[in-house]
């Protein structure tokens, strides 16, 4: 069934001037024609808002959709760390090539060279654009932009706005979008969720959007459809994604023939606040920087771990000798600073062995007491205190820690109710980004002509693992600087297509399909809530397709997901009515799509007999537990064609060619 012919449409020429040349030769749409061309943009995150604003500025008639009450709420807003750009403002040897190289290497060589190079190339323009929009990046006393190093790279290329870089960048894009809305170039549809894609004569020509207030199924036509609908991390139920993040728009496209690429590439972040109970709705990320000063441990004795879980003992009752600093033990060279995936898997192992320290069993300590003591002593030295008391040292040390991580400690205390200066933090890994997504070519167009996908919703730039501070970069690169050009290749052929008639049979059929899906869910009249199915799906995917995977587990997971799907369609309980604001219905529709996606993910993970990036197959590891990549057989993109829930998806392969980098094994030992 393999199909090796999937073509990324990468232009020829040298890597370094490929994009410049291509951009200069792209077919253009004349200004007078742009006024007649409509484009639908679904989603108002960094990618969607920046694309809609830019397309509006260019003169297209843009229609933009979000299920939120305002375009400013998308989950890009929650990104903390920063945004990379190859500005080389530090004079530390950064360059476009170096950013390209770091990104492709960080992605474990599972991304397309040309796309990644283009991303690195336009990264600098993003910073210029954002500053011009008034994004208040951190500055130095001289008034110029500050940078920090992020994600273990050797240069400082990350621009940041305190711990709220995503918020500030999104507001910049939102403001640009607002300007276009005021000018009438963009028509904004809030509280509208795309629930069907309309394909006419083989081209994406519109969407069916459910008005979330009235329940009405509205038909919207356009010459092209752009999906900027984010990632599918919520397939795990618990993730750092927002509650309403979903895969429905993407899966509706997949149902209409678009390919889902590399869905098993998901990223786990090691330092999140662990789940405290069954009721818990989401997980909160704690910045990775905490691992610079925190030591990760679990009790060495199982009975101590149990006592802590039962609330009989606290961390302070465990003597130093009975603590297992497992990262330091297993990775003496890097210790607590091993990469995200390694740290995450080690925590999972410790908990699987029965040493977890929260009631669910899934949590480890992140302890700052050593750092507090160290900083306290050095501070006492600076202050000239010759023989400071223990209490004084701790007091001084806590102050230093507060200066460095005060806001994070405060957030932790707010959520957990525990003082992290006195008791070690409790952390556990959680899903927070998905590298996989809709397959797109160099133009960011899916295999369905006229259907584009940008930002986290596509698969394009991060390969099997995303580097820190690269998600914001990719979303904005796609939206501001790539899609607005490349969409011309499709639209220039469509200038004589008249405005789409939403009464065409294709629209009616799509609306009927959506209505049938909704009616079908209401007709089940079962006993279990959509939420409970979602929770169970999450458990299956997390267990078998999470931090580490095995062929056996994945096979089992597939059976379980299928059984869950059957149960879902037999026993779903859906309150309320279709033609009203009904969050339960929204949820049920989303869960149905998550189940289908879950199965494709499992199939993909099963197919990829290697370990790379976020995909760790236990069968494929070196004797000392390192991921074993198999470039000879798996240097390709897996693009899955969905043939309905009752059939196996079909694999299409896009072979990856590396002409400018040498494939190396990641090493940190």
């Amino acid at each position: 069934m393999d199909n090796l012919n999937l073509n990324g449409n990468v232009p020829s020429g040298d890597l370094s001037d490929k994009w410049t040349k291509y951009r200069s030769t792209l077919p253009l749409v004349a200004p007078n024609n742009k006024l007649k061309i409509e484009i639908i943009v679904v989603g108002t995150g960094l990618a969607g808002a920046s694309a809609a604003a830019t397309l509006g500025e260019l003169g297209y008639l843009v229609k933009c959709y979000t299920f939120h009450d305002s375009p400013r709420r998308a989950h890009s807003i929650a990104a903390q760390g920063g945004i990379n750009a190859a500005k080389n403002y530090r004079n530390d040897g950064d360059s476009v090539f170096r950013l390209f190289y770091d990104t492709i290497k960080g992605g474990d060589y599972r991304s397309r060279e040309a796309n990644v190079y283009r991303l690195a190339e336009v990264s600098t323009s993003i910073i210029d654009q954002a500053v011009a929009q008034g994004v208040p990046f951190a500055r130095e006393y001289g008034g110029l932009l500050d940078n920090r190093s992020f994600g273990g790279v050797q240069v400082s290329r990350t621009f940041y706005a305190r711990g709220q870089t995503g918020q500030q960048l999104l507001l910049g894009a939102y403001q640009s979008l607002s300007r276009q809305i005021a000018l009438g170039n963009v028509k904004m549809f809030t509280r509208h969720e795309m629930i069907e894609l309309v394909v006419k004569d083989g081209k994406a020509r519109g969407i069916i959007a459910r008005n979330l207030l009235t329940g009405e199924l509205e038909k919207h036509g356009a010459h092209a459809v752009v999906l900027a609908t984010g990632g599918y991390g919520n397939v795990f139920y618990l993730s750092t994604n927002a509650m309403n993040c979903n895969v429905t728009a993407a899966m509706r496209a997949v149902a209409k023939g678009a390919f889902m690429a590399n869905p098993c590439f998901t990223q786990i972040h090691p330092t999140c606040i662990p789940q405290m109970g069954e009721y818990q709705s989401k997980l909160t990320l704690m910045s990775e920087s905490l691992r610079n000063d925190g030591r990760v441990w679990v009790p060495a004795k199982k009975e101590d771990a149990k006592a802590i879980r039962d609330g009989v003992k606290t961390a302070l009752d465990i003597p130093e000798t009975d603590r297992d600093y497992f990262l330091e033990r297993r990775y003496p060279a890097f210790g607590n600073l091993v990469p995200r995936d390694v740290a995450s898997r080690a925590a999972k192992t410790a908990c699987d062995e029965g040493n977890g320290i929260v009631p669910t069993g899934l949590g480890v300590f992140l302890d700052f007491s050593a750092a507090i003591e160290r900083y306290g002593k050095s501070k006492a030295n600076i202050l000239g205190l010759s023989n400071p008391s223990n209490a004084k040292v701790i007091e001084l040390g806590e102050k230093v820690i507060e200066e460095k991580y005060g806001n994070l400690f405060e957030m932790y205390e707010k959520i957990s109710g525990e003082n992290p200066y006195k008791f070690p933090m409790k952390i556990y890994p959680a899903v927070h980004y998905t590298m996989g997504g809709l397959w797109v070519d160099y133009n960011l167009m899916t295999n369905v002509p006229g259907l584009f996908s940008i930002g986290e919703s596509n698969f394009s730039d991060h390969g099997a693992n995303r580097l820190g501070a690269s998600a914001l970069m990719q979303g904005l690169a796609d939206g501001y600087f790539v899609l607005p050009y490349t969409i011309g290749t499709f639209l220039s052929e469509d200038i004589s297509t008249p405005k789409l008639d939403v009464n065409a049979p294709e629209f009616t059929a799509a609306a009927d399909l959506a209505k049938q899906r909704i009616d079908k869910l209401f007709a089940i009249k079962g006993k279990q809530s959509a939420e409970s199915f979602h929770r169970r799906l999450g458990k299956i995917i997390w267990e078998y397709c999470g931090m580490s995977r095995t062929a056996e587990g994945l096979t089992l997971a597939r059976q379980q997901v299928r059984a869950l799907r059957d149960e879902f369609y037999a026993d779903l309980y859906l309150p309320g009515v279709a033609n009203d604001l009904n969050p339960e219905l929204e949820k049920a529709l989303r869960v149905a799509d998550f189940i289908d996606l879950g199965e494709i993910m499992v199939v993909d993970a099963l197919d990829r007999n290697e370990s790379c990036g976020g995909h760790f197959r236990e069968e494929y590891q070196t004797p000392d537990g390192e991921a074993l990549r198999r470039d000879d057989e798996y240097a390709y993109v897996s693009a899955w064609e969905f043939k309905g829930a009752d059939q196996d998806p079909i694999l299409h392969k896009e072979m990856l060619h590396f002409d400018n980098v040498e494939l190396k094994t990641r090493s940190y030992k």
Partner: protein
């Protein structure tokens, strides 16, 4: 914990609402306030009752979707905290909690605890931006900005647009929201170019949306989950005064 909840129920915008009382047992103090409502909703669902509509999304205090007035306070009793980050340990066992939607004419109730805050978007659309199209920008380091000024602008820019300021204000004024954006952009050299036009248009739109007038009560600042200062309002007043008397806009 056992709680009694008095919650505002209103089927739709044009139907009269009223309080309904619910009791909820086995509430864990580790639950967030919204998780407590999730549990109540799940319970209501199975009793074949309509779940309570409330808005939420990121549940980490940054998207500004969640709202609610809890015991008379927008986002509840904890200062500097959104409803989604409020945890049940801040309440007492056996307590009665009154949950209401934001009240303001400019924020009509859509259903139960959901309100329409579109007016805030329209204020931004009136001028809360810098008119720079993609690709027009010069190098990011071409304009140095004093660190303090950038930091001050940042403080204003942290607004999450949740509307708690309007809800808290006895006059339902949107001055804190509007001034936060005016201040953010007016403080930066990039934003100064169109500062006069911006403040005139944004204030005009704010007035059109039927928000009340500021009488410097400062409840907005006290309830703002991001602690945005009323000094931004003074800055906007200043900007508006000078723009009114010196701009080239003869209207």
């Amino acid at each position: 914990m056992k709680l009694t909840l008095k919650i505002w129920r209103q089927p739709s915008q044009n139907v009269k609402g009223k309080f309904e009382t619910y009791s909820l047992d086995n509430v864990s103090e580790h639950m967030s306030f919204l998780e407590m409502l999730d549990v109540l909703n799940e319970k209501l669902s199975f009793e074949q009752k309509v779940p309570i509509a409330f808005e939420h999304d990121c549940r980490e205090g940054i998207c500004g979707t969640c709202s609610l007035v809890i015991n008379g306070q927008p986002h509840g009793p904890l200062q500097g905290t959104t409803t989604c980050q409020l945890h049940m340990r801040n309440f007492k066992d056996g307590e009665t909690i009154v949950i209401e939607p934001y009240r303001a004419s400019a924020f009509p109730v859509l259903k139960d605890l959901s309100v329409d805050r579109g007016a805030l978007d329209r204020i931004i659309q009136a001028g809360g931006f810098i008119s720079v199209s993609t690709g027009q920008a010069q190098d990011a380091n071409a304009i140095p900005i004093e660190k303090d000024v950038a930091s001050h602008a940042f403080d204003a820019a942290t607004c999450i647009g949740c509307g708690a300021c309007v809800a808290a204000c006895p006059n339902s004024s949107a001055m804190l929201f509007t001034s936060a954006k005016v201040a953010h952009l007016a403080l930066l050299p990039q934003g100064k170019v169109e500062a006069q036009k911006r403040v005139l248009n944004m204030v005009r739109q704010m007035d059109l949306e039927n928000f009340g007038n500021c009488s410097n009560i400062t409840a907005c600042e006290a309830e703002c989950p991001k602690g945005i200062s009323v000094s931004n309002i003074a800055l906007m007043n200043r900007e508006f005064l000078s723009a009114s008397f010196s701009s080239n806009d003869a209207n």
